[in-house]
């Protein structure tokens, strides 16, 4: 008898038992935990339908693997962080309460949105929701309350938590409310970036920037500099680079203080530094740029 068939025959009773158990699991539906992967966009998201968690137009093809049960947390990417933050809190309430847990991925100004939500609302009382959203992006109560949300960790691509020098007059439209929030002084004063309630922010920093190299200090991805994408604490304006640049302080990997002594925000760890200067800021409609690194990590580890 061929080996494969022999095994097949021998395992049959075990398979039957396990299949029965899985069947029972299905019947009992609703009592087990579900993990979700929330994707929080950055600046300029006019084409997406806010509240539609299946709309991945900001990122790329919706069928692309990007973590278990992925959801697109669409905010407009145009107005103030504070006036749009309810979109993020709605999503966190929907998918990250009760027995459900979330992995979070955010891009650019989405860094500010997630940080703002956790720092200022992370200890608030939340209604446990049923993970079934309305068209407005809100979910029904499942009964009970809890403190904060259930978050495993956060991946940040090209984070603008520390703002961007491009928000100063001349580079981006000054009439755009979000641009004012992205000013380095404002972004860094918006909330205590160290207060993540002990959730890790894994930072992915790109360096394929040339267009604004005269304005963005140190290495940049054409929209944000390493001081922001690397989660560096303190004032903006500081230059951080790859180790190959002898004339500029290194952005250190992990949680270590950077060359020159500047530390990172607490619970911020640089997972990826673009030593080959190959990734820019933009998704390019196909999960591109620095987002490609975060997407790969979500696919592998958000499960």
């Amino acid at each position: 008898m061929p080996q494969s068939l022999r095994n097949h025959s021998t395992l049959h009773p075990i398979r039957t038992t396990l299949l029965t158990l899985f069947g029972l699991l299905l019947v009992a539906g609703g009592v087990y935990a579900t993990n979700y992967s929330l994707w929080v966009n950055g600046r300029s998201n006019a084409s997406a339908v806010a509240g539609n968690y299946a709309d991945f137009i900001y990122w790329g093809p919706a069928g692309t693997a990007a973590g278990v049960n992925k959801k697109s947390v669409n905010w407009d990417g145009y107005n103030r962080v504070s006036t749009q933050n309810y979109r993020i809190r709605d999503a966190l309430d929907c998918y990250c309460t009760g027995t459900n847990w979330c992995y979070i991925a955010a891009h650019s100004a989405g860094n500010l949105q997630v940080g703002y939500a956790l720092s200022l609302f992370g200890g608030s009382t939340r209604n446990v929701k049923n993970a079934t959203p309305s068209s407005a992006g809100t979910c029904g109560d499942a009964g009970g309350t809890q403190t904060g949300w259930n978050i495993k960790w956060v991946n940040i691509a090209a984070g603008a938590g520390g703002g961007s020098e491009l928000s100063d007059a001349g580079s981006w439209a000054v009439s755009e409310p979000l641009v004012a929030d992205l000013k380095t002084t404002t972004a860094r004063a918006l909330y205590d970036h160290n207060q993540t309630r002990a959730k890790w922010f894994y930072m992915y920093a790109g360096a394929k920037g040339t267009l604004y190299s005269g304005i963005l200090p140190g290495q940049d991805d054409e929209a944000v500099a390493y001081h922001s994408s690397g989660g560096v604490s303190g004032s903006g304006g500081a230059s951080f680079c790859n180790p190959s640049d002898w004339f500029c302080n290194d952005l250190a990997l992990g949680t270590a203080a950077n060359e020159g002594g500047k530390t990172k925000w607490a619970y911020h760890s640089v997972k990826f530094r673009d030593d080959t200067e190959s990734l820019n800021h933009y998704t390019n409609g196909n999960w591109g740029g620095v987002v490609s690194k975060v997407r790969a990590d979500m696919e592998a580890n958000a499960r």
């Binding site: 097949h8 398979r15 299949l19 899985f22 069947g23 699991l25 299905l26 539906g29 609703g30 087990y32 979700y36 069928g63 692309t64 693997a65 049960n69 103030r80 504070s82 006036t83 933050n85 309810y86 200022l120 609302f121 200890g123 079934t132 403190t147 259930n150 495993k152 020098e165 100063d168 007059a169 001349g170 580079s171 000054v174 409310p177 002084t185 404002t186 004063a189 205590d192 160290n194 207060q195 309630r197 002990a198 890790w200 005269g214 304005i215 200090p217 604490s233 992990g254 530390t263 925000w265 607490a266 619970y267 997972k271 990826f272 196909n286 490609s292 690194k293 790969a296 592998a300 580890n301």
Partner: protein
């Protein structure tokens, strides 16, 4: 109705079924990168359908070369997951030894001196935003958010690329409101002169550092809640440029401080900041604790709903933190800031008046007055249980694969 959960269960069933029927080793969607050990490789985007789960691989029998290679890949991936799970678990466990609002200030490095001016170095730029090579501006602003009758001081200096001071001229400086709308709104404007004469906001005359002060309540902005932008036209070495400052102003002062008291309660030292609350809502308050040697060692934070009327904001210096750090008494409560958080609005906060410097000095206590018990809460238990489950799973998978 919990459709997402059901679909997940169906997916699990499908995967398990595939595994059981064909007896293949588990497969993963993307192997760890060889070139970057810290993260998985940036594999080309794959579709959810083709890589949604583990266990669907068909790379050969478990002990075939392909099967062994797949197993090795699996082991590397689970080792990576274990490393992350271990970091997440242990750091959370250690961090939550104290409540989130009572932590060593070393974990909040940029919150130690909240009232120091925000200083930035930036390339000089012309009015169109184009960088002027070889010239940098060093600017400071006393604060970003202000309210009521508070004022804010700004400074500008110019330097060349060798960090040598360059004579600067400030030709014109104007503060104006910035509307958060595309609808045309007549801005409020006021001149805010920069001077280097050692008078008013300028601490030292003729030192090349120009200073200006904006007092929104007395300069025409008393009814404006929102961004005020100060633009200063400057020149240095014959090059023209613009310096650009934003502050967010809210005329309303939602609560006023009334005093501070302390109490040892349940093994912790609690500071109660009394306030007359005019506007109910979520208040965010922070204070630094300095030890008897004048060294900052703790950051205390309050973030709770508060009703109108006389209220006390409780800042807890957690017992275990005191036991662990064993500071010299008396302790000093320093630099208190607070605001009313206004969810879903801009400005998102109404500032209380800053309390700068020493706000309160504690009594002297023996360290044994405080509890060494670590913090506990439903939130902490929930997290440690989940993080611990992830850690155990990774460990089990590694053990099974070895």
């Amino acid at each position: 109705m919990r459709h997402p959960g059901r679909w997940s269960a169906l997916a699990v069933l499908a995967v398990a079924g595939a595994w059981l029927l064909w007896g293949q080793p588990l497969q993963t969607p993307s192997p760890p990168s060889v070139s970057d050990a810290s993260i998985p490789s940036a594999s080309p985007p794959t579709s959810d359908a083709s890589t949604s789960t583990e266990g669907g691989g068909t790379n050969g029998a478990p002990f075939s070369p392909a099967g062994l290679a797949a197993r090795k890949q699996q082991l590397a991936l689970w080792q990576q997951r274990y490393d992350r799970a271990e970091q997440v678990y242990s750091s959370y466990r250690d961090a939550t030894r104290y409540p989130h609002g009572s932590h060593p200030i070393s974990e909040h490095p940029d919150q130690v001196r909240p009232f120091e001016p925000v200083s930035e170095d930036k390339t000089l730029r012309d009015a169109s935003g184009k960088a002027v090579k070889g010239l940098r501006l060093r600017t400071t602003q006393e604060r970003v958010f202000l309210g009521g009758t508070e004022s804010v001081t700004f400074t500008i200096e110019a330097f060349d690329d060798n960090n040598k001071a360059v004579p600067l001229l400030v030709h014109q400086s104007l503060a104006q409101t910035i509307a958060d709308t595309s609808t045309p709104v007549t801005p409020i404007q006021a001149p805010v002169p920069f001077t280097d004469d050692g008078v008013g906001p300028d601490s030292t005359g003729s030192d090349g550092k120009y200073s200006a002060r904006l007092s929104p309540a007395t300069q025409g902005f008393a009814n404006h809640a929102g961004t005020i932008r100060l633009l200063a036209q400057v020149s240095a070495n014959g090059e023209q440029g613009v310096a650009h400052f934003d502050v967010v102003y809210s005329p309303v002062v939602p609560a006023t401080w009334l005093g501070t008291r302390e109490a040892v309660e349940s093994g912790s030292l609690n500071f109660y900041l009394k306030a007359q609350v005019q506007v109910a809502g979520r208040y965010v308050v922070s204070a630094r604790v300095y030890d008897g040697n004048g060294k900052p060692f703790a950051l205390l934070q309050f973030n709770e709903q508060v009703a109108a009327g006389v209220a006390e904001f409780k800042l807890q210096l957690f017992g275990a933190l005191l036991r662990d750090k064993n500071p010299t008494f008396p302790l000093r409560l320093v630099d208190v800031e607070g605001f009313l958080l206004r969810p879903d609005a801009f400005p998102d906060r109404s500032m209380m008046t800053r309390q700068s410097g020493v706000v309160h000095t504690s009594d002297r206590y023996g360290i044994d007055r405080f509890s060494s018990a670590e913090w506990n809460s439903e939130e902490r238990e929930r997290y440690l249980k989940e993080y611990g489950r992830d850690l155990q799973e990774a460990l089990d998978r590694i053990t099974a694969l070895q």
